[in-house]
């Protein structure tokens, strides 16, 4: 009595891993890696030729040349554009935040409201453009407080954040063209790119 050996498994294609055999045999490997997310914002740079009534950028301080008209003591128009080199390698939020919600007196602070007819804060508009997104923050000088606005950017971004500040002539927190109390006025704007969890 003779025993029959097993049949040949010819032309059998077996996928993956060890012990694959047949007329062809395949080993598979994966390649794994990661890229951590990061955002960075560079130092502000003045956009040349785009400033009106701004003396310039001193470090990170934008100096207005003539804040008020000498005759009316009300606000002069002013505008400036500032660029920041920035990069974010993952989806993120662009936020602009004002510390004072307008240009307010930096030194002379008082809880006493100004005398009738005088203004003591200057509203302005801040427009930010980044990665095809536009963001406006109206610092309306109504109440001295922090305020912010933000927009979600759905992808990575590389390039420049463009910030445009505009102060209208005569803009005060009293009424248009009201005279302003004496003092130094200022605000701080923060622009951030932050990861979205």
């Amino acid at each position: 009595m003779r025993a029959r050996p097993a049949l040949i498994l010819a032309g059998l294609l077996l996928p993956a891993a060890a012990h694959a055999q047949g007329t062809s045999a395949t080993s598979n490997f994966t390649v794994n890696a990661s890229v951590p997310g990061s955002c960075a914002v560079g130092a502000p740079l003045l956009a040349a030729g785009r400033q009106v009534n701004f003396r310039g950028l001193n470090g990170t301080m934008l100096q207005i040349d003539e804040l008020v008209d000498r005759t009316t003591l009300s606000t002069n128009a002013a505008s400036v554009e500032v660029r920041f080199e920035a990069i974010c390698t993952f989806p993120h939020r662009l936020k602009i935040e004002t510390q004072n919600n307008g240009l307010w007196q930096t030194m002379e602070r008082s809880s006493v409201p100004p005398p009738e007819g005088f203004g003591n804060a200057i509203p302005y508009r801040a427009d930010v453009t980044w990665a095809d997104e536009n963001l406006r923050l109206n610092a309306d000088a109504g109440v001295r407080r922090t305020a912010d606005n933000s927009v979600f950017v759905s992808g990575a971004g590389l390039g420049e954040i463009l910030l445009r500040l505009e102060i209208d002539a005569g803009a005060t927190n009293e009424r248009a063209n009201a005279p302003l109390l004496a003092g130094t006025y200022g605000d701080t704007l923060r622009i951030t790119l932050e990861p979205v969890q």
Binding site: M1, R2, A3, R4, P5, A6, L7, I8, L9, H19, Q21, G22
Partner: protein
Amino acid sequence: MKARIALAALVIAAPAGMASAQGPLEGRVAVDGSVAGRCVLGPPSQSAVPLGTLTNTSGPRTGRLATIAAQAINFPGSYCNFAGTRISVSANAMVAADATAPQPGFARAVNFTSTVSNWAAANAVVTTAASAGGATPAAQGPGGTHPAPKLADLTLTLNNFAVPSDLLLVSGGYAGAVTITLGPATP
């Protein structure tokens, strides 16, 4: 069975000069015959031993010799009518048709053991010893001598299939052979 019978020539000599007797003539005739010694192997139960696929095609022994069951060919009604006979076996290991020298790790020969039993007290056993490269594939040898005439059913068994050093086998067809001889112990 035919016996040759040789007829003796009948010679009747009548000596000359002798007076014929008057009695009847009587001569002697002897009849003598002989039977030649003869061995015959019975008709084999199969004419070839095809083993099919020799190697495992899956598992940890893929590409190496599979377990091959013992194979048997029967020769019923074999006999010798004289004493002092023995079986001899001549075997050739299975060797690949591709004569190229195999790469390291490979062999092109499969050895096996051939045994013929049921004739003499000592069986005829021959194991081929081909090298991995297929050299020295042939092997032969006799079994024991049987001291009397015998009639028996003989069995040739092939088993103990093995590859030198259990190496991988090169692909292709493999062929070996076995021949058995029954005859006088002293030729």
